[in-house]
């Protein structure tokens, strides 16, 4: 009954939309399929890609992390300040990851061990992280980014920006962790049915803790990448990213209810939103008109994901 094509649509509901958009934009704009445009598009979405990996793991357990976006800002600002003082890039990277780790650990402990609701908990950490980013930077871009970091932001190999390669490296590592380890399997099972996981002897608290920790670490890395992309640590860098991150994960086909999805799907979801934004800019559609189109597309994507994964009657 199920043909291979239908089976892959079931797994990757974003593919038909990506194909349709790519064809449409290449017809409307001759610039769309040039290497320069593709490189710019990939580079601009590296931060969202890295952050969306973390959100994917959180979604797989049936949770949500609203703080990812502003933890990106906080780790960027603190890392930027440290690098401005010391001009030490490894220390800056370490600082960004450490800040992300701390926020992730706080979320993880409160949600996994103290059983607070993910929505409320991460909403609170979102506010705190945003506050920290603005207080420490006094609301303006942090100056004094080391030259190496600026260079890194412009580096690319064979038309793929270095920042995107970092993202793809993290994609490969996290996809392997999800698909090939006991830990990854347990993430899926906890998301599918937390009660059954407990009755089966899975350490549900630790699994929940670990996905928020991972999301924090990845947000920290994304924060550092944002400095390389933009040239400065910007305190408001994450503010507009949250909906992009959630949208990408959902459009990719990972369910918010848990136990259904993958890192690969999220990569396609990020690609979909990247092409959409880029293409609409090229065609010359104003920003606020783009929002309407994005919203409609999320409807379509959610509908396709539901249709292909056969969850309608579940």
């Amino acid at each position: 009954m199920t043909s291979p094509t239908l089976a892959s649509l079931k797994t990757y509901p974003a593919i038909p939309i990506i194909a349709a958009l790519a064809v449409a934009f290449s017809l409307f704009s001759p610039y769309f399929l040039t290497s320069g445009n593709i490189e710019a598009m990939l580079g601009a979405n590296a931060v969202v890609l890295i952050a969306a990996i973390g959100m994917t793991f959180v979604f797989l357990t049936g949770g949500i992390d609203l703080s990812i976006s502003t933890v990106i800002s906080a780790s960027a600002v603190i890392s930027g300040l440290v690098m401005a003082q010391t001009d030490n890039v490894p220390l800056g990277i370490g600082t960004a990851i450490a800040v992300g780790t701390i926020f992730g650990a706080v979320n993880g402990v409160l949600i996994g061990y103290f059983k607070l609701t993910p929505f409320i908990t991460t909403m609170a950490t979102q506010l705190i992280a945003r506050g920290i980013a603005f207080v420490l930077s006094q609301g303006i871009a942090v100056k004094g980014t080391p030259y190496w970091v600026l260079d890194f932001g412009f580096m690319s190999w064979f038309g793929i920006p270095a920042v995107t390669l970092v993202g793809l490296g993290l994609v490969i590592l996290s996809a392997a962790a999800l698909g090939m380890t006991t830990w990854g399997r347990q993430v899926m099972l906890v998301g599918s049915n937390p009660n059954a996981a407990r009755y089966t002897g899975i350490n549900v608290r630790f699994i929940e803790f670990s996905v928020y920790l991972l999301a924090g670490v990845l947000a920290g890395i994304a924060g550092f990448i944002s400095i390389a992309n933009l040239g400065n640590a910007i305190p408001g860098v994450g503010d507009t990213l949250l909906l992009m991150i959630i949208g990408a994960v959902v459009l990719g086909g990972t369910a918010m209810t848990g136990g259904e999805g993958s890192v690969e799907r999220t990569v396609l979801g990020v690609l979909l939103l990247a092409i959409l934004t880029n293409g609409l800019n090229l065609v010359g559609i104003p920003f606020y008109d783009q929002l309407i189109i994005q919203g409609i597309l999320i409807f379509v994507g959610a509908w396709l994901a539901m249709k292909f994964s056969g969850q309608r009657n579940a």
Binding site: M180, T181, T182, W183, R185, M188, L189, S192, N193, N195, A196, A197, R198, Y199, T200, G201, I202, N203, G259, E260, A314
Partner: protein
């Protein structure tokens, strides 16, 4: 009363009723009459077509073929209130935070929409309850009542709008023995008042207690019907299953002497000072009413809920008692509610089978990494447990109830346990699968495993165990050996209100 019921015309008649979904016939050619004051038992295994028949009778489904006559006249589709037919479904339709009176009148509130006459609603509810001879405070909220009283409110509500035919679908599944008796008394009252009742149940004892006539459905077909007085229970069961049942009492080998699991002074909120021991090769049953604390004890032993006291495995004290510690000692627990606490419904059969013992399924060179061998091992398990599924990659939610239970059983047998605790192992599976599961359990005991079965189904315990412990309100109140089994004594011990110190060894 009974005499008039025989001469009066049937209140509801069904002729050649059939229903097909997408070309598949699920109810085929069902015909019967029901007179005022009569009770018909609708019996059959899971999937026999009882629910579909019920849904056609209360107007939720349109029949594909056949006709329904109300008071001698053909009606195209049943309209409950208009034709006086109401149904109480398995899932109650009450609002927990509203009062009894509000719930009873919710579909037809007196007064105007913006200004409901609550005093009148209360009066209507009171009058109805009084009429049925039920004492329930109409101002109490539904959630403050027990399952039995909720059921009664649901019935009173149903009869308020339609009082000629009442359909009861498995009304006793969540009731205690005492509540069940009260419900039967109410049914008797309704019969005397001339209400025709269609009673759907799995439990043969209840069918015989409540009904005058019966209809047996098997695979959607009406395979029998008539007066219950003419048909012994055995014959009725064989009609349901469609084959002759050999003696269901299973042959057991005598248990060994070595202690496998023992519990001393186990105490928690739901139970107190529980002591018992189960030996290698022994099957121990734990009996009791709903809320007696049986499941809670099983869960405490498996480390799923906190308790004080001592749990010993092979004479060695386990401390602290956690799921992991019990699994390490080759103990397993197969929970009662497989959909809530057992299965990962949107994950494949393969992952469900390996979930509790992934290391028994894979060959790894790196700790925690890789699933080589899992598929082959899962395939073997599917074959061994006789699970009917197209592929091990199918989601468990695609499987039937019996196959789901086999997957859960397979998961825990894959942990190679020495001590097995089963909580309601045959709940919601049909009679055929039930015997298979009993045979599997007996086989485990013969192989020297220690088994504990927690069950509300007393005949199941009588057939499959060496020894039965009886619980009441969190206390162990009795113990029976197989040679002394007496269902009446066990039930009365479990249900009696007296203090529980009559230990019967």
């Amino acid at each position: 009363m009974l005499d008039t019921s025989k001469t009066a015309p049937p209140v509801l008649s069904v002729r050649n009723l059939s229903k097909a979904f997408a070309g598949k016939t699920v109810v085929d050619d069902v015909s019967f009459d029901i007179h005022p004051g009569e009770t018909i038992g609708l019996v059959g295994e899971n999937g026999a077509g009882k629910s579909t028949t019920k849904n056609m009778l209360c107007g939720l489904l349109q029949p594909s073929k056949g006709e329904i006559l109300v008071g001698g006249e053909v009606v195209p589709q049943i309209d409950g209130p208009e034709h006086g037919i109401s149904a109480v479904h398995q899932e109650l339709s009450l609002f927990g935070s509203l009062t009894v009176a509000e719930n009873m009148c919710i579909t037809d509130l007196p007064g105007r929409p913006a200004r409901v006459n609550w005093a009148e609603a209360d009066r209507i509810a009171k009058a109805q309850l009084e009429f049925l001879g039920i004492e329930i405070d109409t101002k109490a909220t539904i959630e403050s009542l027990g399952a039995g009283r909720q059921q009664v409110v649901e019935i009173a509500k149903a009869l308020l709008h339609a009082d000629r035919v009442l359909i009861l679908d498995e009304p006793t599944t969540s009731l205690t023995a005492i509540e069940r008796e009260k419900l039967f008394a109410i049914i008797d009252t309704l019969k005397a008042r001339g209400v025709a009742i269609i009673f759907i149940s799995h439990f043969m004892e209840e069918i015989y207690r409540v009904c005058d006539k019966f209809i047996v459905l098997r695979d959607g077909k009406q395979v029998g019907g008539g007066h219950l007085a003419d048909v012994p229970q055995r014959q009725l069961e064989e009609m349901m299953v469609g084959r002759t049942l050999e003696d269901s009492r299973i042959d057991l080998d005598p248990p060994g002497d070595a202690e496998a699991l023992s519990v001393k002074g186990l105490t928690a909120i739901d139970f107190e000072n529980v002591d018992f021991t189960v030996h290698k090769g022994e099957i121990l049953g734990i009996s009791g009413l709903m809320g007696a604390g049986r499941t809670e004890i099983a869960e405490a032993i498996f480390g799923l809920r906190p308790a004080s006291g001592c749990v010993q495995v092979h004479g060695e004290t386990v401390s602290p008692v956690t799921v992991q510690a019990m699994k390490d000692r080759r103990v397993c627990y197969v929970p009662e509610d497989r959909r809530t606490n057992g299965l990962f419904l949107n994950r494949p059969v393969r992952e469900n089978l390996s979930a509790a013992s992934i290391l028994n399924f894979v060959r790894r060179s790196l700790r925690g990494v890789g699933f080589r061998g899992e598929k082959a091992r899962a395939q073997e398990e599917v074959k061994a447990r006789n699970i009917s599924v197209p592929s091990i990659e199918n989601r468990v939610s695609d499987l039937s109830g019996g196959n789901q239970q086999k997957v859960l059983l397979g998961r825990w047998l894959s942990t190679l346990p020495d001590i097995l605790i089963f909580d309601e192992p045959t709940k919601g599976v049909d009679i055929g699968a039930k015997f298979d599961i009993h045979e599997t359990i007996a086989g485990l005991a013969r192989a020297g495993k220690a088994v504990i079965i927690v069950s509300s189904d007393l005949p199941e315990l009588l057939h499959t165990t060496h020894r039965i412990l009886v619980m009441r309100k969190g206390h162990m109140v009795g113990e029976f050996r197989r040679e002394d089994y007496d269902s009446v004594k066990i039930i009365s011990l479990a249900a009696s209100a007296g203090n529980g110190s009559n230990r019967n060894a």
